[in-house]
């Protein structure tokens, strides 16, 4: 009997790897820095394991692609908050990867307390990488009116100007939020968890795998059963803004991650001096020699929405994320001001090299003859949805992913909408491109209303002109 398990990348990898090694699973390639996503066991020939982003694992197990999975309980609860009927069984606390999920607010609020927010008639804004738990939290609190901003990261920089509350996780031992935040509620304690698909649990014999883990977990005793012990968060040091930003100040968002370095280079070339970017303290609020401009560092994926809702006037993000946003909100007030020319990628539709198709038309034909839905995995769910719709792919399912999408083909998806520079990674995974949807580079984007705002227009024009000059 074949047993499929989904294993985590990232923070849980080394401890999970050590647990499985002790349990004698023989997954020798499951270690930090591994290049392969598919793992075969030397000792258990029926075992197939695949490595995923932690956040993808509950979904993969719930839909039945995997019998078992290991991931943080936080991501399990995030799925269950929205889809309580998911076919998931929470089997066992594995005792490591402990942490807690907090609702936090800015210390600068007059009374950063739940009771104050409950009375509030204006919109309470919640920002989080855990949007489903955030919504659940808001409903449980019976907030009168709220909005939820799903984030790819950097939640701690949003309060107080861009969110009243954030839901943010902290691992055991971390005592601060790296920002001027206070905890208003501890929502959930979590640790690494063994989960199973409900149907597998009801119909397959998973006991050998369970027993081998149990033997190790029982031996390690105390440390695997302790409740996470995290002190109430203390405030960070440093100066943070209080209250509203003045009406004539231009609010600029700069990217973290891959786009950070080329952004710094462009700013330098344009003569814009920028300090604390990247931020050593994790403050994410660089300063610059641009007068009347405040800067925050957020994820490029989150920028178009944050510009659309008026939290920022200007931002540096990719054309890919702008397109993703405009596909979701066609009338969005976000406009592109300038092509910044760096960060070039192609957004492509990708299938397995084994599939006898060469273009989208062939793909449509190929799937039209099959009675099963075509599974489309992508970080760009709205671009993927539009592609499937516009090309009449018929019965299709979008599987949202959080990176490393190429690993989904062919077991867990049939088609990817992915970005690529050279196509090398795709080729390494025996994948091929059937269509290039568009090319993407970094863009300076703005809110339409900010450009026409008399107090901001000149400043925005001047920044665009300076950056444009540096590109020549």
């Amino acid at each position: 009997m074949r047993l499929k398990i989904a294993l985590p990348k990232g923070r849980l990898l080394s401890e999970t790897s050590s647990l499985l090694a002790q349990a004698g699973w023989g997954l020798d390639e499951y270690r930090d820095g591994t290049r392969s996503y598919r793992l075969k066991s030397q000792k258990l020939p029926d075992l197939f394991a695949k490595i995923f982003q932690e956040k993808d694992i509950p979904i993969q197990v719930a839909v039945g692609n995997y019998d078992l999975g290991i991931c943080g309980l936080d991501w399990v609860e995030e799925l269950l908050a929205k889809y309580p009927g998911s076919a998931l069984v929470k089997l066992r606390d594995l005792g490591y990867g402990k942490g807690a999920l907090y609702a936090a607010a800015s210390r600068s609020l007059p009374a950063p307390q739940i009771e104050t927010l409950q009375q509030q008639r204006d919109i309470v804004r919640l920002a989080s990488e855990y949007p489903n738990l955030a919504e659940s939290f808001a409903l449980d609190l019976r907030l009168k009116r709220f909005s939820v901003f799903p984030l790819w990261g950097g939640a701690e920089v949003y309060p107080p100007e861009n969110a009243e509350l954030i839901l943010i996780s902290r691992k055991t031992g971390e005592k601060t939020f790296n920002n001027d935040l206070v905890s208003v509620s501890r929502i959930l304690d979590f640790s690494a968890y063994l989960i199973a698909n409900r149907y597998s649990w009801e119909s397959k014999d998973l006991s050998p795998a369970m027993a081998s883990l149990e033997a190790i977990l029982a031996r390690s005793g105390e440390s695997y059963t302790q409740v996470a012990d995290i002190e109430k968060m203390s405030e960070a040091e440093g100066e943070y803004p209080v209250g509203e930003v003045a009406g004539d100040v231009v609010r600029l968002a700069l990217p973290d991650g891959h786009q950070q370095q080329p952004t710094i280079e462009l700013l330098n070339k344009a003569g814009i001096r920028i300090d604390d970017y990247p931020s050593v303290s994790g403050k994410r609020r660089p300063t610059s020699n641009l007068s009347g401009v405040t800067i925050k560092v957020i994820r490029p994926q989150d920028m178009p929405l944050q510009v659309a809702n008026g939290h920022f006037d200007l931002a540096v993000t990719g054309k890919d994320w702008l397109t993703e946003h405009l596909n979701q909100f066609p009338d969005s007030p976000v406009v592109e001001l300038l092509d910044l020319k760096f960060g070039w990628v192609r957004i492509v539709a990708v299938v397995s090299q084994d599939l006898p198709v060469t273009d989208t038309g062939g793909l449509r034909q190929f799937w039209a003859e099959r009675a099963v839905p075509i599974r489309v995995a992508s970080e760009y769910i709205n671009i993927a949805d539009k592609y499937a719709r516009d090309n009449h792919l018929g019965l299709y399912r979008i599987i949202p992913t959080w990176g490393a999408t190429e690993a989904f083909l062919t077991e867990d998806a049939d088609l990817l909408i992915e970005n690529t520079q050279t196509g090398r990674t795709l080729a390494e995974h025996k994948l091929k491109i059937v269509e290039t949807l568009f090319e993407s580079t970094a863009r300076l984007i703005a809110n339409k209303n900010s450009i026409t705002d008399a107090k901001k227009r000149k400043k925005i024009e001047s920044i665009a002109k300076t950056l444009g000059g540096a590109l020549e």
Partner: protein, 426 residues
């Protein structure tokens, strides 16, 4: 690729739609006669319309169909309406607040996610809201209207169960529970978990006893309510006001000869209700219910306005009625048959069908296939005299006519008048 409907959804067949329209028709007729006017609110509403009042429980709100609209970059969601009373209150505040009294009714669907998909996630309701009237008589009018509709639907053995949200709320407030927590705790209690109360006010055990008494007893008379009042008022004098209101309503129901059963537990899920709660049962099936919700409109930002209403559950009623008992036997269908190859034949056939419709007969052009079950007449259009041959499908007797008006006259059981014959060409 297989084609099938979404899980938890329901289609209505022609037979089911006939039942649906019958109920709707009877309901509309009654409401109009009682002076109510029909309204329809939007299917899509802001989520915050339902969160802002704090009247719907979090578990209920988790089952709404919510999504970001195409312009939802503010992060606020919209929903498919999960409830009708709140949108009607919104409509009233937005456009009708100047009216001292608004008597409104509706026939509409509500959407609530249901886990198993075995029950429909889209449910139809026909209901009435009486906004601006706070008297016990207003409550009695709504009960009477609801019962009238059910009776007109030919349904017997309807049980009217009465409860009172004011009594439940006063008691739960006595336990120190906030308005928001009350519904949840009450549901727990009704599920048999009385221990939850013992934990809340251990220093006042008599309150637990009062509640247990209230929940245990069921009665069918005003006397019963008066006895209850004398029993519980000692422990919680605040109960006097809601009890008096309840007694007042029940006395009026008795005065008009309406039977009822008092059962405080039927107040389950009272959400926005503040006073009388009534439920209609046929056997074990709940076919409708309603109550008084005086706090809702002010909670939504409107003026202090008393209101009450009820809804009948169409999906449930559709399964209970016997359509044949509720409809008059119809005339039977007329099928117009002609050689439809020539344009002239086609025109003649359709002209005759239109003429028959104008005269009040159900008629259709024969398009091939099996004949309708309730076929009464076949009218054959011929190329030679006589131009029309009518066959009575029951007696198999044949009649002849020269013109369209003659056909109409014949069907009406009259001999064609000479004048009609002379003007017969159409």
């Amino acid at each position: 690729m297989s084609v099938h409907r979404c899980k938890g959804t329901r289609d209505m067949s022609p037979q089911e739609m006939r039942r649906f329209r019958l109920i709707e028709g009877i309901f509309r007729e009654s409401c109009l006669k009682w002076g109510y006017e029909e309204v329809r609110t939007s299917t899509i509403e802001h989520l915050h319309l339902f969160t802002s009042t704090g009247t719907l429980t979090p578990s209920r709100l988790r089952r709404v169909y919510s999504f970001l609209d195409w312009d939802g970059w503010s992060g606020e969601r919209v929903v498919l309406r999960p409830d009708v009373t709140i949108p009607i209150a919104r409509l009233y505040i937005e456009t009708m607040a100047d009216e001292r009294l608004a008597k409104l009714f509706y026939v509409t669907d509500v959407f609530n996610f249901e886990e198993t998909g075995k029950e429909s996630r889209e449910k139809w309701q026909c209901g009435a809201e009486l906004i601006g009237a706070g008297s016990a008589t207003a409550d009695v009018e709504l009960v009477t209207l609801a019962l009238e509709v059910v009776r007109k639907l030919g349904l017997k053995d309807v049980e009217l169960r009465l409860s009172h949200a004011g009594i439940i709320r006063t008691l739960l407030t006595g336990f120190g529970l906030s308005h928001e927590k009350q519904t949840e705790v009450f549901d727990h209690i009704l599920d048999g978990d009385l221990s939850i109360l013992a934990k809340l006010k251990p220093e006042r055990p008599e309150l637990g006893r009062t509640l247990a008494t209230l929940l245990d007893l069921k009665g069918k008379s005003v006397g019963f309510l008066k006895n209850m009042r004398s029993l519980v008022n000692r422990d919680l004098p605040e109960l006097e006001a809601p009890f008096s209101n309840f007694i007042d309503i029940v006395e009026r129901l008795e005065a008009i000869g309406c039977g009822y059963q008092i059962d405080i537990t039927s107040g389950r899920g009272f959400e926005y209700y503040t006073g009388l709660i009534f439920r209609l049962f046929i056997g074990s099936e709940e076919v409708g219910g309603g109550g008084r919700y005086d706090a809702l409109i002010p909670l939504m930002g409107g003026r202090d306005t008393p209101a009450s209403g009820f809804a009948l559950y169409l999906d449930c009623l559709m399964g209970l009625i016997s359509p044949e008992k509720l409809t008059q036997p119809s005339f039977g269908k007329i099928l117009v048959s002609a050689g439809l190859k020539k344009a002239g034949d086609l025109k003649e056939a359709f002209d005759l069908v239109v003429r028959l419709h104008e005269a009040g007969y159900p008629a259709e052009v024969y398009l091939g296939g099996p004949e309708p079950a309730d076929l009464k007449w076949i009218v054959e259009i011929r190329s030679k005299e006589p131009r029309y041959v009518l066959t009575d499908r029951v007696s198999q007797r044949k009649f002849e006519a020269g013109t369209g008006p003659e056909v109409v006259a014949l069907l009406g059981g009259r001999k064609p008048r000479p004048s009609a014959k002379s003007k017969g060409k159409r």
